[in-house]
C-alpha cells in the first residue's frame, strides 16, 4: 500500500476527525487512525467506540489498495512540523511497517492490524432528514452550554433533538436552566426524537459551517451526520428525556424588557461582588427601575446598580445565580431581551425581542435561588 499526499491536505483531514480520540484509551487500537486506500481515495477513520468519525482525502498518487491502523499521536505531531510538501507513504501490509518520506528525510513507525479496528455502528431501519448546517450550528451554539454534568442523570448531559412535521426543537437543560431552540424552516417527514451526547455535539460544532447541507440518519440507538466528506456516527443516550414542556410556566404576568448589553454589563460588574461560590445576585423591579445587587458577607463586599427598563406587572424581588444569567445573555444576539417572571420561587424566562431570523424561536429558562 503506497500513496503520495500533500502534508497540509492530510493534516487538515486528520484535524477534522482527531477530536474523537480520547487522551487515554482502554483499547490500544483506539489510539490509531484507520487508513483505507481505494484508488485515489484515502478514507481516514477515528473512533472511541461510542463515536466514529470518517473523512476522505484525495491522494496525489495511490498504488495497491489496502488498509492499516496508524498511531495517531505520532502522525499528528510530525505533520504539525512540516511545511506544505508532498509526503510519500509506503506501508508493508504484512508487518504493518510504515515509512514516510519527506523532502527532509525518512520516518519509520509501526502500525497495527486494520482488522482490529472497531467497525462503525450499523444503522438499520434508519430515518433520514436533510437540513441546512445553519440550523445545526445555531442549535448547538444556543443549547450546548445549558447541558448538565450530572453522571446520575445522563439524559440531561446531552441535547434533545425533537423532530416533527412542522418544526425542529433542540432542548438542553441541567435542571437549573433550560434552553429550547425551535426552527420552523426545517421539517421531518416523521416525528422522532433522540438525545445526542456532548462529545459529538462538540465535534459537529468544530466541523460544520452554515453553508453545509447535512443529512441525518437515525434510529433508536444511533445517529449519523454526513456533510462534506465527513461522516460522524454516534451512539445516542439511552433514556427518556424529562418532560420539559410541563415545567415551562405558561402564565408569567410580570414582564421586564431591558437592553441586553446594559443588563449584561451591569450583571458582570455586580457579580464580581457576589459570593465566589454561589454567584448569587438579587434583581428587584419596581416601576420602571431594575436594581441589581449582590453581597459577599464573608468579605463585606457589596454592589448595587440601577437600570431603566420597561416593566409590566407587580413589584418583584428575585434571586438568581449570575453565572446562569450571564451565560444566557451572552448566547443571545438581540438588542433587547424580555424577562418574564411570575413568582420569586418560580422560573424566569428570557426571550429575545428582535430576531434576525423569522423561522427561529429561542426560549431560555432559569430557575431562581431562594432569597431572604
Amino acid at each position: 500500500m503506497n500513496f503520495i499526499v500533500s502534508s497540509s491536505t492530510l493534516r487538515k483531514g486528520l484535524q477534522q476527525i482527531g477530536g474523537v480520540l480520547n487522551a487515554s484509551n482502554s483499547l490500544p487500537i483506539l489510539d490509531n487512525f484507520l487508513f483505507e486506500l481505494s484508488g485515489q481515495d484515502l478514507t481516514i477513520s477515528a473512533s472511541d467506540i461510542e463515536n466514529t468519525m470518517r473523512t476522505k482525502v484525495v491522494v496525489d498518487e495511490g498504488k495497491e489498495d489496502g488498509k492499516v491502523a496508524v498511531p495517531a499521536k505520532l502522525l499528528m505531531d510530525i505533520l504539525k512540523n512540516f511545511a506544505d510538501q508532498p509526503l510519500s507513504f509506503s506501508i508493508d501490509t504484512g508487518n504493518f511497517g510504515i515509512e514516510i518520506s519527506s523532502d527532509y528525510g525518512k520516518y519509520k513507525l509501526v502500525g497495527q492490524n486494520a482488522g482490529d479496528f472497531p467497525k462503525g455502528q450499523e444503522l438499520e431501519n434508519a430515518n433520514e432528514i436533510t437540513i441546512s448546517g445553519d440550523i445545526i450550528v445555531n442549535a448547538i451554539d444556543k443549547c450546548l452550554f445549558a447541558t448538565g454534568n450530572d453522571d446520575l442523570r445522563p439524559v440531561m448531559s446531552g441535547v434533545f433533538f425533537e423532530f416533527s412535521e412542522d418544526k425542529l426543537n433542540f432542548v438542553a437543560t441541567d435542571a437549573h436552566k433550560l434552553v429550547k431552540y425551535t426552527r420552523t424552516d426545517g421539517v421531518a417527514n416523521k416525528s422522532a426524537d433522540f438525545i445526542l451526547p456532548k462529545k459529538p455535539l462538540n465535534l459537529l460544532k468544530q466541523n460544520i459551517t452554515s453553508e453545509d447541507s447535512i443529512s441525518i440518519n437515525y434510529n433508536d440507538t444511533t445517529v449519523r451526520f454526513s456533510f462534506n466528506e465527513i461522516e460522524l456516527t454516534s451512539r445516542l443516550i439511552d433514556g427518556k428525556y424529562p418532560n420539559y414542556e410541563a415545567v415551562i410556566p405558561v402564565e408569567n404576568p410580570n414582564v421586564l424588557t431591558v437592553d441586553r448589553i446594559s443588563f449584561l454589563n451591569s450583571l458582570k460588574r455586580v457579580s464580581i461582588f457576589s459570593n465566589k461560590t454561589t454567584h448569587q445576585v438579587r434583581l428587584k423591579v419596581a416601576g420602571s427601575e431594575l436594581s441589581i445587587s449582590a453581597e459577599d458577607l464573608d468579605f463585606s463586599n457589596e454592589a448595587k446598580e440601577r437600570l431603566t427598563c420597561n416593566y409590566v406587572g407587580d413589584d418583584i424581588e428575585i434571586g438568581f445565580n449570575s453565572k446562569f444569567l450571564l451565560e444566557m445573555l451572552n448566547h443571545l444576539t438581540c438588542n433587547e431581551v424580555i424577562l418574564e417572571m411570575s413568582e420569586p420561587n418560580k422560573a424566569g424566562i428570557l426571550l429575545p425581542v428582535d430576531k434576525e431570523n423569522d423561522s427561529e424561536k429561542i426560549l431560555m429558562l432559569v430557575m431562581p435561588v431562594m432569597i431572604r
Binding site: 435542571a175 424529562p242 420561587n345 418560580k346 430557575m367 431562594m370 431572604r372
Partner: protein, 401 residues
C-alpha cells in the same frame, strides 16, 4: 508591645443561679444533666472542695458530695447574663473575642500610652461586677496564652497582671496541665516523661517535644515559654454546624435512631436556611457502646433543602450502621458552608418549595419546634440556637465541655 486581656466569669452557671436564688450562696451547687449519662457542667467552689470538677459524670459527683444541690440549668438564662457582660465589653473595648459563654479576650494594645492597661482592665472588671453582680476574673499579659493561664491562677474573683519579661518565671512553677493545649492524654504522656512543671518544658530542647508530640509539641513548647502570636479575632465565621445526641441508655431501636437523625437533620437544614447558608458536605457519626466511633461523609452539590439532604443523611446512616451493637451516640454535621440561597430545581415540585417556605415562616414566628416531621417528634432536645450570629454555641447543661 501587645497587651491582651483574658476574662473569665467565675463558676458562671452557678453565679447566675445564685443571682436568681440567694439561698444557694455559700452552699455546694452542681449544675448538669441529672440522668445516668449526665455530666457536671459547672460546680461551685464549695463543691470543688469535695473533689468535684466540671465534665465529671454526675453519678460520681453525687457520691463525692451527696449534700450538693443539683440543678438542671437553663442555657437561655445563662446566655442572657452572658450577653449583658458582652454588651459592657463591647461598649468599652474596640477589639474583643468571645470564645464561649463565659470567656472573653480583649486586645488592649496601645492603651498603655495614655491610660495604663492594668488600670483600664481593672476598671472594666469592676464595672462588670457592679452592673451584673457576677464575679469575674482576668489575666493581663502580652498574649492570649499567658493571660488565660493567669486568669486561671487569679480565680476566684481576682486579677493578675504578668508584666513583660516575667512570663517564663510566672509559668515555671505551674503544673503542665495549666497549658491550654494539654488535656488528659498529653498530661499523662508528659507525666510518663517525668514532666510535671512547666519549668521542665522550658528547659527542654524544642526538638524533644517535637519528637514526642509532633507539631503540637512545638506549640506546647512555645506556650510553655510564654510565646503566642495568635491574634484576638472579633468574629469567627462558622465552618460547619453539627448536632449530636448521646442516649440515656444505649439503643438498637432503629426507628428511634432514624427519628432522631431526621429531627437533627431537619433542624440543621433549617438553621442553614435561616442563616442563608448552603452546605456541600454531609457527615454522619455513630458511636457504639464500646466507644468505637465511626463517621461517613459525602460531598454534594451546594444545597439547603430538606428533600435532598434528609434522604442523604439516611443513606449515610444506613451505610454506616453496620455493627450489630448498641448505639451510644449519633450525630450529623454539615461542613463546607457558603453564603447563599437554595437553587431551585426545574423539576422540583413547586408545592414542595412552597410548603418548606411556609414551614420556615412558621418556625421563624413560633420557634424551631413549632412544626416538624412526625418521624422526628421523638427527639426532644435538639438545640434551638442560631449558629450564624457570630456567638459561640451556648452550652447545654448536660453537654460535656
Amino acid at each position: 508591645m501587645r497587651a491582651v486581656m483574658h476574662m473569665d466569669l467565675d463558676t458562671f452557671f452557678v453565679s447566675c443561679e445564685r443571682l436568681m436564688d440567694r439561698r444557694l450562696i455559700g452552699k455546694p451547687v452542681m449544675i448538669g444533666g441529672t440522668s445516668d449519662r449526665g455530666v457536671v457542667a459547672a460546680c461551685s467552689y464549695e463543691a470543688r472542695k469535695y473533689g468535684v470538677h466540671s465534665a465529671m459524670p454526675m453519678r460520681m459527683a453525687k457520691q463525692l458530695c451527696p449534700d450538693a444541690i443539683i440543678l438542671r440549668g437553663n442555657s437561655g438564662v445563662y446566655s442572657k447574663f452572658s450577653n449583658m457582660v458582652t454588651d459592657i465589653i463591647k461598649e468599652e473595648v474596640p477589639l474583643y473575642e468571645k470564645t464561649s459563654v463565659d470567656e472573653f479576650y480583649a486586645d488592649l494594645t496601645g492603651m498603655d500610652r495614655f491610660y495604663g492597661c492594668h488600670k483600664f482592665a481593672s476598671e472594666l472588671r469592676q464595672r462588670i461586677i457592679k452592673e451584673t453582680m457576677l464575679p469575674i476574673s482576668f489575666g493581663l499579659s502580652q498574649n492570649k496564652t499567658v493571660s488565660k493561664i493567669a486568669t486561671g491562677e487569679a480565680k476566684p474573683n481576682n486579677e493578675i497582671e504578668v508584666s513583660k519579661g516575667t512570663e517564663k518565671t510566672f509559668l515555671a512553677p505551674l503544673s503542665v496541665k495549666k497549658i491550654p493545649m494539654v488535656g488528659d492524654k498529653t498530661y499523662r504522656t508528659l507525666c510518663d516523661l517525668g514532666v510535671k512543671r512547666i519549668k521542665t518544658i522550658q528547659e527542654m530542647p524544642i526538638e524533644v517535644m517535637e519528637k514526642v508530640f509532633g507539631k503540637n509539641g512545638i506549640m506546647i513548647w512555645k506556650k510553655a515559654n510564654g510565646i503566642d502570636n495568635s491574634p484576638v479575632i472579633p468574629y469567627q465565621e462558622r465552618k460547619s454546624i453539627s448536632t449530636e445526641r448521646t442516649f440515656d441508655k444505649d439503643t438498637i431501636d432503629t426507628v428511634k435512631l432514624e427519628g432522631i437523625l431526621t429531627a437533627i437533620a431537619e433542624n440543621l437544614v433549617y438553621q442553614l436556611r435561616r442563616g442563608n447558608k448552603l452546605t456541600a458536605c454531609i457527615t454522619v457519626k455513630i458511636r457504639y457502646s464500646d466507644f468505637q466511633t465511626y463517621t461517613l461523609q459525602k460531598r454534594i452539590p451546594y444545597s439547603a433543602s430538606d428533600n435532598t439532604i434528609i434522604p442523604l443523611v439516611m443513606e449515610l446512616y444506613r451505610k454506616l450502621y453496620q455493627r450489630r451493637m448498641l448505639v451510644r451516640l449519633i450525630g450529623v454535621r454539615f461542613s463546607h458552608l457558603v453564603e447563599g440561597g437554595h437553587q431551585i430545581n426545574l423539576f422540583d415540585d413547586s408545592n414542595t418549595i412552597k410548603l418548606y417556605q411556609a414551614m420556615d415562616h412558621i418556625r421563624e414566628r413560633y420557634g424551631d419546634r413549632s412544626i416538624m416531621r412526625a418521624s422526628g417528634m421523638g427527639a426532644k432536645s435538639i438545640s434551638r440556637w442560631n449558629p450564624f450570629n457570630g456567638e459561640p454555641p451556648p452550652l447545654l447543661a448536660n453537654r460535656r465541655r
